[in-house]
């Protein structure tokens, strides 16, 4: 099917969803820069954030091209509000156990790695499938991103195993991290109008079909990590529809503060 048959607005939403995922997770992981548990990991996480920022830029650039006019990649990162972001809620949560938006506290490396694992376990098969997208620019971005996601998954898996099968404390922390995060993964498997339309047009991927391989990855890794696969019951978030947690507006407030203080400025 020809990509031109897709409504630009569907393609835009789909690309923004993918781009927002990458940007929001990058922003969260950036907060570890300089304060990680060990220098090598500081670098590894920064590296992954760089990959994610790179993905977001390519996706936003493609949206800007489709939209035309004055839009640039930064239009989407800096000039949209929380309800316009289409990332999974999982990715905007602070790197800590459950806590309301304004309650500050220490970050937890276990939560960060568990999240990176859950997300990249999805993105590997997702980018893989998107290499066949009928929208050629997206297929190209997918091919590039796939290599990165494979590395992110390997890195995160190794840490999940190391921490799950480490000390009693690290085991308990990782279990708590997965217990906390797992319900948010339910959002992966829900469908939305723009995803359905993108799938129908051959541009997007039916994520629900990736659930089995994702589940297999999660079960295998958690087993190796001597961790219990927690229930994913509970509230199903709707971040990709623009309904977020209390955390996103704080995250964006920080991300956008300098850019918005100087409307129209070049950097």
């Amino acid at each position: 099917m020809d990509a031109l048959a897709v409504d630009t607005s569907v393609l835009t939403e789909y690309l923004l969803h993918l781009g927002d995922n990458a940007l929001v997770l990058a922003q969260r992981n950036c907060q570890w820069c300089g304060v990680g548990p060990v220098l090598e990991e500081d670098l590894a996480l920064a590296n992954q954030s760089l990959d994610l920022i790179g993905q977001a830029r390519l996706l936003y650039q493609e949206v800007a091209r489709l939209q035309g006019g004055d839009a640039t990649e930064d239009t989407y990162a800096y000039w949209r509000d929380a309800h316009q972001f289409r990332n999974y809620v999982l990715l905007e949560l602070p790197a800590s156990l459950p806590r309301v938006g304004y309650a500050q506290g220490d970050m937890d490396w276990g939560v960060t790695l568990a999240r990176n694992f859950l997300y990249s376990a999805l993105m590997v098969p997702l980018w893989e499938a998107l290499q066949a997208s009928a929208h050629a620019p997206l297929a190209a971005i997918a091919a590039k991103s796939l290599k990165e996601a494979r590395y992110h998954l390997r890195h995160a898996s190794e840490w999940v195993v190391r921490l799950g099968d480490g000390t009693d404390e690290s085991h308990a922390r990782m279990q708590a991290a997965f217990d906390h995060l797992m319900p948010y993964t339910q959002e992966f498997w829900t469908s939305s109008d723009f995803e359905r339309a993108a799938v129908q047009a051959g541009v997007g991927v039916d994520v629900a079909a990736l659930r089995a391989p994702w589940q297999a990855t999660v079960e295998a890794t958690l087993a190796e990590a001597t961790l219990r696969v927690p229930s994913d019951q509970g509230h199903v978030p709707q971040g990709k529809l623009g309904v977020h947690s209390e955390h996103l507006s704080y995250l964006l407030g920080e991300l956008q503060v300098v850019a918005r203080a100087h409307p129209g400025a070049q950097w």
């Binding site: 907060q31 548990p37 060990v38 220098l39 990162a77 480490g166 850019a259």
Partner: protein, 312 residues
């Protein structure tokens, strides 16, 4: 005595001392102190710029800044490795940093107060660092010299990026220009002090010169830095905050004012605006990360035991 003579002869002939070579204990100690101090500076140096990663005003600048701070961490790694070749462990060196026994570059004890600080640190702080470090690429200790070659290459790249960031801001709005000038005003004198006390007051220099660890004097380097920077500032359109700064055709150099050494020593001795925050942050990061490091060790031990049992 023979060994010492051979050692000195190698240095005088501009040869390199390698880890397995004999070296005087004082040489080893001086190098450990200098290399680890340099490594600590890279790691602590991640913090002032790290302060703006989450707030960078464009995605391109965010990526550039993050990559830069990551490079600094990488430099820390090379340098810890170079220090380890002298028979000291990284854990020991970090313990010295966190307990306050080891120093790091005092320049990182000043705050980054607006986005332009990121550019000014690239342009001036990295610029001064490069000036200090280029001679170290010819340092007599091989591993250090090789680390410095790689580091200087990356630092030059950072410096150009910083300058380019500032050029863009200076072509921008009035408020952007104000930010750049504000940052330059706050950093200029601190950068001049980075070359260390005047030659007349410098303690370690003579022995370090003889050992081929230091090759150019503080004052010479400082003058070189000023001479290189003034024309760049003119192109940029910022004012360097020194009314005494002017070209001296007789010397063929720029004259400049007096550095506030009292403030410099205050900061070196722990009383700068951010000393406690920088160290406090490193200490907290180290403490918060203890369970992760412990777990990694425990897991590796379990893996070894399993492999051992499987082999048995």
């Amino acid at each position: 005595a023979d060994k010492l003579a051979a050692f000195q002869a190698r240095i005088d002939a501009d040869g390199r001392i390698e880890p397995q070579d004999w070296m005087p204990e004082a040489y080893r100690k001086t190098l450990i102190r200098q290399i680890s101090q340099h490594a600590h500076s890279e790691v602590v140096g991640m913090l002032p710029e790290g302060n703006w990663i989450t707030r960078a005003p464009s995605l391109k600048r965010k990526a550039i800044l993050l990559a830069k701070v990551q490079d600094e961490g990488g430099h820390g790694l090379y340098l810890y490795s170079a220090a380890e070749t002298l028979g000291v462990s990284r854990a020991e060196l970090i313990e010295q940093l966190l307990s306050g026994r080891a120093k790091y570059s005092s320049i990182f004890n000043y705050p980054t107060l607006n986005w332009a600080d990121v550019g000014v640190i690239g342009w001036l702080v990295d610029g001064a660092a490069i000036m200090n470090q280029i001679p170290l690429c010819r340092c007599s200790y091989g591993p250090y010299a090789r680390a410095m070659i790689r580091i200087c290459k990356e630092e030059s790249f950072h410096q150009r990026q910083g300058y380019e960031l500032l050029l863009t801001m200076m072509r921008g709005t009035e408020e952007q220009r104000r930010m750049v000038q504000d940052a330059v005003n706050r950093w200029w004198w601190k950068c001049l002090a980075m070359f260390g006390p005047p030659d007349s007051a410098s303690v370690h220099s003579e022995q370090s010169m003889r050992w081929g660890i230091k090759r150019i004097s503080n004052d010479e380097l400082r003058q070189k830095f000023v001479d290189a920077t003034v024309p760049q500032a003119e192109v940029l359109g910022v004012t360097l905050p020194d009314p005494k700064l002017k070209w001296n055709p007789e010397r063929g150099h720029y004259d400049f004012g007096e550095i506030d050494w009292e403030e410099f020593w205050q900061t070196v001795n722990g009383h700068g605006p951010c000393n406690k925050e920088r160290l406090g942050t490193r200490i907290k990061a180290h403490r918060d990360g203890a369970w992760v490091r412990d777990a990694a060790l425990a897991h590796a031990r379990k893996q070894r035991e399993r492999a051992f049992k499987a082999a048995a």
